[in-house]
Each structure stands twice: as structure tokens, then as C-alpha cells.
């Protein structure tokens, strides 16, 4: 009887352990990234040329295209971003600051957005570049979006001679 019991139990005991597969987990989080920089550092100077003859208009504004916008953007699926621009500080009355961005150039890759039309900047945010997704432009003053600044006389009778300093604020934000 003991012999038979052993025979019956042994297979059951033998099969009570064992595992055909085993698992571990792996994962990585890629965060949302929104970085913007203006290169090279330093300010931009613009001026009007004085007329050489009484009765003439002011000459055209100088232009400046020394500045570049560099960005790095990582977004969740389906999210797009924009770059807005506005004036911070007190701009001279009777004059408008015009800015435009060229199409992205240089190194980098990804969905880096498309510049819109030139803007006359105000103290309110306006969209300069839109449709930015995941991408990066490269760094420095040959990569990204080349900016062109110029001045435009809006109201002659409000003009006052002098030097004026104000800032332009660029913001990279979700749509």
C-alpha cells in the first residue's frame, strides 16, 4: 500500500514547481522640452538717416539681420507650438518696429515650424512662427530662424528725436 501511495504522489510532488517564463520591466520617460534662445547675444541698433536737404523725409530705416532664434522642442503626440513676439518697455511713438523670420536654416532636424508674415510689434504677443513640433535647430548664429528688424514711420507728427531702448520678448508656447 505504501508502495502504491508513493508512486501516486511522486509525480504530483515533482510537478509542483517550475516556471516557464519570467518578466522584468523597462521604461524611459522623454519629457516635454521647450527651449528658445536668441543668438548672438547683445542688442540691435536701428536708426533713420537724417535728410540732407530741408523739406525731405527722413531716410529709410536701417535693417538688422544679425539675430537668430534657436529652439529645441519636444512635444507630446498631437501637440504643436508657436513662437510669439512682443515689445517690452516703451517704444518711441510714431515709429513701428518690424520683424520677420526667415525659414529655418542650418543644422538640426524635426518639425521646426513655419514663419508667418512680417509683424509690426506691439506690447501684445503676436505669432511669428507656428507649427513647431518635435525638433531642434542647432545652436549659434547660423542656425535656426534668421530675424530681420527694421523701423517704420507710422505718424510723422509724433516723432521725437532721441535714443530709445526697449526689448523684444520671444516666447515658445503650446498652441
Amino acid at each position: 500500500m505504501r508502495f502504491l501511495l508513493f508512486i501516486l504522489l511522486y509525480p504530483a510532488m515533482s510537478l509542483t514547481y517550475g516556471q516557464m517564463s519570467s518578466s522584468v520591466s523597462a521604461g524611459v520617460t522623454l519629457p516635454s522640452v521647450a527651449l528658445l534662445d536668441i543668438e548672438p547675444s547683445g542688442s540691435v541698433s536701428l536708426n533713420f538717416t537724417s535728410p540732407s536737404e530741408a523739406g525731405n523725409l527722413l531716410g529709410s530705416s536701417s535693417t538688422n539681420n544679425s539675430k537668430w532664434i534657436n529652439i529645441t522642442s519636444a512635444v507630446a503626440s498631437g501637440v504643436t507650438r508657436k513662437i510669439t513676439a512682443r515689445i517690452s518697455g516703451t517704444a518711441p511713438v510714431g515709429v513701428r518696429l518690424r520683424v520677420s523670420a526667415a525659414s529655418v536654416a542650418g543644422s538640426g532636424a524635426g518639425t521646426r515650424g513655419t514663419p508667418g508674415s512680417a509683424l509690426f510689434l506691439t506690447t501684445s504677443d503676436q505669432i511669428l512662427i507656428n507649427g513647431i513640433g518635435g525638433g531642434y535647430t542647432g545652436t549659434g548664429n547660423t542656425n535656426g530662424f534668421n530675424l530681420t528688424y527694421s523701423l517704420d514711420i507710422q505718424t510723422y507728427n509724433l516723432l521725437k528725436s532721441g535714443a530709445y531702448t526697449f526689448s523684444v520678448v520671444y516666447t515658445l508656447a503650446d498652441n
Binding site: F3, F6, I7, Y10, P11, S14, L15, Y17, G18, Q19, M20, S21, S22, S23, V24, S25, A26, G27, V28, T29, L30, P31, S32, V33, L35, L36, D37, E39, N70, I71, T72, S73, A74, V75, A76, S77, G108, A109, G110, T111, G134, G135, Y136, T137, G138, T139, G140, N143, G144
Partner: protein, 182 residues
């Protein structure tokens, strides 16, 4: 020749023991998960400094036990096995997003037993990175002797495709190692 019932009984018992021993289920155990962090980008215009993340060489340790193939517990035969690997994503699909997960074996671990003639157990293949897909692929193989377990087999991982072009998200997956009696 007619065997005595008592002898016949013990022969049957020995055969059953041998048979049942072979029926013992194989076992695999993996421990050590991996959740690395990317290095933050500090300057606008840059991508991540490296598109690759690599784990410690012994991020996961695997142990493999096989049912002994022996005769009356005296003579052990090599019991061959294969280890297969696959991943099961939870959340975004890694490959669709542009990420790839690779695995390799960086050592042999210890144990696995020896034969009666002192032939050692062995473990083969899996020493170069291979991609872990959502389908089982053969990873490494080997053979043990007797009841011995080969333990501490070190496993290393690599993630490639790290970029700001990849949608921002948490990418998680379960890596499953399956032991196949070969």
C-alpha cells in the same frame, strides 16, 4: 526467465522515478528592472547629447533550472534549453515612436552542474545586442546537468533612438524571458 514480484516491483519503481524526474518542470527566474533617465538638454538648439542609453552590465540576472535527465540518479545527460525574449509595451509603442530596445548577455553566471565524466554545463550565444521585439526571438541557449541551476546570468540593455523628435511620453514595457526545453 521470470522475475520475482518483489524485484519486479522495485524495477517498476526505479523506472517511474526516472520518468517522473524527467517530468519535473523547468524554471526560469529574472530579476532587475531598468528605468533610466535622460540627461536634460541645457541649451536651446541642441538635441539630447546621446541618442543611446545603456544599462549596467548586470542590470538583470537570470537563473535557469532544467529537469534532470538522468538514469536512476546516477548518470546525468545534458539537458538543453533555449531562452527566448520579447517585450510587451504598455502605453506608446516603442518602435512606432522611434525607440528600439536591445538586450545582450554579458556573462555566463555560475552553476549548471557537470556530467558524471566532469563535462561542465554550458551557455552559448546572446553576447551581442539584439533587438527585443513584440514577438519572441531566441536569445541564448545552453545545457545543464542534473538538478543544478545556472544562476546569475548577467543581462544588459540598450535603448536607441533617444531624440526630441520622439513624442514626449513615458515608454514602458515588460520584458519576458521564456525557457524552452530543447
Amino acid at each position: 526467465m521470470k522475475l520475482k514480484p518483489e524485484i519486479l516491483k522495485w524495477i517498476i519503481l526505479a523506472l517511474i522515478l526516472t520518468f517522473c524526474n524527467a517530468l519535473r518542470a523547468q524554471s526560469i527566474s529574472a530579476s532587475g528592472s531598468w528605468t533610466p533617465s535622460v540627461t536634460a538638454i541645457t541649451e536651446a538648439g541642441n538635441n539630447y547629447a546621446s541618442s543611446t542609453l545603456e544599462s549596467a552590465a548586470n542590470q538583470t540576472l537570470i537563473s535557469v533550472s532544467m529537469p534532470p535527465q538522468d538514469l536512476l540518479f546516477i548518470i546525468s545527460f545534458a539537458n538543453n534549453y533555449q531562452v527566448w525574449v520579447k517585450r510587451t509595451d504598455s502605453g506608446p509603442n516603442w518602435n512606432t515612436a522611434g525607440l528600439q530596445l536591445f538586450v545582450k548577455r554579458t556573462g555566463s553566471g555560475t552553476g549548471g552542474g557537470t556530467s558524471l565524466l566532469l563535462v561542465p554545463s554550458a551557455i552559448n550565444n546572446g553576447l551581442t545586442y539584439q533587438q527585443i521585439t513584440t514577438s519572441d526571438v531566441q536569445f541564448f541557449d545552453g545545457y545543464n546537468f542534473g538538478n543544478s541551476t545556472r544562476s546569475g546570468i548577467p543581462i544588459q540593455y540598450q535603448i536607441t533612438g533617444i531624440s526630441v523628435l520622439v513624442p514626449a511620453a513615458t515608454y514602458s514595457t515588460t520584458i519576458t524571458y521564456t525557457l524552452v526545453d530543447n
